[in-house]
């Protein structure tokens, strides 16, 4: 028994020694762990005095452990009440809590820190203090502040953008209202315009028709708007207009359209172009019923007057002829001279009356009435032959250049075409001085689709400033007025109408003092047949 006690004591002492060594190892371990731990940690006792700190804590606060241990925890914080309250709340509520505070270092530098507190309890659960982990969040806070600044800046930018957008929206709204106002104005103008208006979009769908146009064709906006030009054929009142415009809405300038007995309108199309893009077509309908009526009355008057004048003039002509032929007895030489002059004047008067009658027929639209299939070359030759004597007498060379190949026969009003050529040749002979030359050329163009005639003279030419008016009624150039009193000024007007009535074109090139060349072309057969369908 005595032996057993020392053995037991020895065992207990060994165990104690072992426990002591373990405890010391543990202390060393904790010290090393604490030393290398980058996070600042301090132990705080219940009355909130710092009782231990690690190396990182000393580095962060600038206090040595000997300086700070034993000091109240709130010494190192700006927010003294808050840190104490925070610890109290942590103790009451338990668990680990985090709070951001400002640490005041030994050098009185203020460092933003994040405090994490853990409440310490012993094995029995008794509260024995706190562990505090203090994390320097200067950089995080700087980053956060920068981020917040950036967010604030961005917010300001966004606010500015928003304001700018609002301003823009207001401007846009204002512009929209202005545009709306302008649109209303335009619509009001369009609605109150005396001319009829039709607007087709780029796909040739009718997008607008004004009230005047509605009246012209007795249609309603809601019925016709949105229809394509093809679909508008369904409306009987619009059919003539659609036929005139064509499916592609061709370019038309002041084309007359008789809508009814009491309504004639002049149709013009205007392409609506923005930059290089065509976005639609405007069809302008101008009521010319009154003008047509006045014109008709005028034409009827001229026609009537001309007819009334021609009868007595014919009687005078035949009487004078009889006198000149001696049917009424011998006349003296002197008397013959006077009667011949009177006869020539009477002839001019008759020609003028004939021209006036032609013009009235042209204006009445009943001029072309005998279209027949003819050999054009023969028609030209006939007229050329009739001027052979006169050109010889005037010592003017007259040349007729015929085509190398035979021309196709074309449908023409021979009498009228002959008159047209005659008018041109007559002018050439009349205004070409002695020794001059007149060249008539006939040729086929566009692979036989057209026949072109040109009459070139070496005459006086047409002054440049008067060339625009050459085809108007009663035009006579100033230079020819000075040298020649004959001529009604209607010949080229009649000629132009004859050529255009055949679907052809007429033009000229002239230089005063050097001569003039008149050209006209007439389409062959098919084109002309199509053309005739329009009448």
């Amino acid at each position: 028994m005595d032996k057993a006690k020392p053995e037991k004591k020895e065992i207990i002492e060994k165990e104690l020694e072992k426990a002591k060594e373990d405890l010391e190892d543990l202390e060393t371990y904790i010290e090393e762990f604490s030393y290398f731990l980058p996070l600042a940690i301090c132990a705080v006792n219940p009355p909130k005095f710092i009782i231990d700190v690690n190396q990182a804590f000393q580095k962060l606060t600038g206090y040595k452990s000997s300086e700070i241990i034993g000091e109240p925890l709130d010494l190192i914080f700006s927010e003294k009440k808050e840190i104490n309250l925070f610890l109290d709340q942590s103790q009451q509520k338990g668990g680990s809590k985090i709070k951001e505070l400002t640490l005041v270092s030994k050098e009185e530098k203020k460092i933003p820190v994040s405090i994490s507190v853990s409440v310490r309890r012993d094995n029995k659960g008794n509260f024995i203090g706190y562990f505090l982990a203090i994390n320097d969040i200067s950089e995080t806070k700087k980053s956060r502040e920068k981020l917040e600044e950036r967010v604030e800046e961005r917010t300001e930018e966004l606010e500015d953008s928003r304001k700018a957008l609002m301003n823009m929206l207001e401007d846009v709204e204002e512009a929209r209202e202005d545009a709306e106002g302008e649109k209303n104005k335009t619509l009001t103008i369009v609605a109150n315009l005396s001319d009829g208006l039709l607007v087709f979009d780029k796909n040739n769908n009718l997008s607008l028709i004004n009230p005047q146009a509605e009246n012209f064709f007795s249609v309603k906006t809601k019925e016709v708007v949105g229809n394509s030009i093809l679909e508008l054929v369904r409306f009987p009142n619009l059919r003539t207009l659609v036929n005139l415009l064509g499916m592609e809405i061709k370019g038309i300038f002041r084309k007359e359209l008789m809508v009814s007995e009491n309504l004639t309108i002049e149709v013009s199309t205007v392409p609506m172009v923005f930059g290089e893009d065509k976005f639609g077509t405007l069809v302008v309908l101008h009521d010319i019923t009154r003008e047509k009526m006045v014109e008709r009355i005028k034409t009827e008057f001229v026609s009537l007057a001309a007819h009334q004048l021609r009868t007595p003039l014919s009687a005078i002509k035949w009487t004078l002829r009889m006198l000149l032929d001696g049917d009424l007895g011998e006349i003296t030489k002197k008397q013959r001279e006077f009667i011949e002059k009177t006869y020539q004047s009477n002839e001019r008067m008759i020609n003028l009356i004939n021209d006036l009658l032609d013009v009235t027929r042209i204006e009445e639209g009943r001029y072309l009435y005998k279209p027949v299939l003819s050999a054009f070359e023969n028609v030209v030759q006939f007229v050329v032959n009739s001027y052979q004597d006169e050109t010889k007498r005037k010592n003017i060379t007259l040349e007729f250049k015929k085509p190398r190949t035979k021309l196709p026969r074309i449908t023409i009003d021979v009498e009228k075409v002959r008159l047209a050529i005659q008018n041109l040749l007559d002018n050439a002979v009349r205004y070409t001085p002695s020794g001059g030359k007149i060249t008539i050329s006939l040729e086929s163009l566009n692979e036989g689709k057209e026949i072109q005639l040109s009459i070139k003279d070496t005459g006086v030419g047409i002054p440049q400033d008067q060339q625009e008016r050459v085809f108007t009624k009663f035009f006579r150039a100033a230079n020819v007025m000075r040298m020649e009193t004959e001529g009604s000024g209607l010949g080229l007007f009649i000629t132009k109408n004859i050529i255009e009535a055949h679907g052809g074109k007429i033009w000229f090139e002239s230089k005063e003092g050097e001569g003039t060349t008149f050209f006209f072309s007439i389409p062959v057969k098919k084109e002309f047949e199509e053309f005739l369908k329009e009448f």
Partner: protein, 201 residues
């Protein structure tokens, strides 16, 4: 009476019986290192060796028992080597708990002034294998308390050290910047025990 030489004092001190935890050596070493650097610590070790009572601070284990006479001699050597005053010794005592591993372990008793006061004897027992610390009065209303150390007569310099030490213990638990610690009774002044009275405002 002529002042004793350090050697004489050392030899005389060694007559004191009783042991103390190695943690006390470590807190002394920490304070010397803090004040005088590593060289200062080496100088103390050298002087101790010269006096015939060598000590290697790095080899001290905190929970082992060592002669209290040695720990007191370290204080005396440092005082002489570095010309420390009593104030320095007081500060050494006041700083010691900050470095003590044992103090850290005992912190769980430092819940409140009263609890700390009540646990003081236990605290003594953890450090010393001789002498006894008894609680005196604790008057929270009047703001004072007292403790007594009995059976402990080593060297008067320890009285200064302990005054600083006990003050720190109070500073750990009393939230006042104005705490005083006074040794009201001392065996070296003929009293039967040491008595320390803390007062605060």
């Amino acid at each position: 009476m002529d002042k004793l030489s350090l050697k004489e004092e050392a030899d005389r001190l060694m007559q004191v019986k009783g042991n103390v935890r190695g943690a006390v050596f470590q807190t002394h070493a920490a304070y010397i290192r803090q004040r005088e650097g590593e060289k200062g610590l080496t100088a103390v070790e050298r002087k101790m060796e010269e006096l015939g009572y060598p000590i290697k601070f790095s080899e001290v284990e905190p929970l082992n028992w060592y002669s209290e006479a040695h720990t007191i001699l370290v204080i005396l050597v440092a005082k002489e080597l570095f010309n420390w005053t009593d104030e320095d010794i007081f500060d050494m005592g006041n700083t010691a708990p900050k470095y003590s591993f044992i103090v850290k372990l005992l912190m769980k008793y430092f819940l409140s002034p009263r609890k700390t006061f009540e646990m003081t004897p236990k605290y003594w027992e953890k450090h010393y294998d001789f002498g006894k610390l008894e609680i005196g009065e604790f008057n929270e209303k009047e703001k004072y308390m007292s403790v007594r150390i009995k059976g402990y007569k080593t060297h008067p310099i320890v009285c200064i050290f302990h005054r600083g030490y006990f003050l720190r213990m109070c500073q750990y638990v009393i939230k006042s910047k104005d705490i005083t610690m006074e040794e009201t009774k001392c065996v070296f002044r003929g009293d039967p025990y040491h008595e320390y009275v803390a007062r605060w405002k």
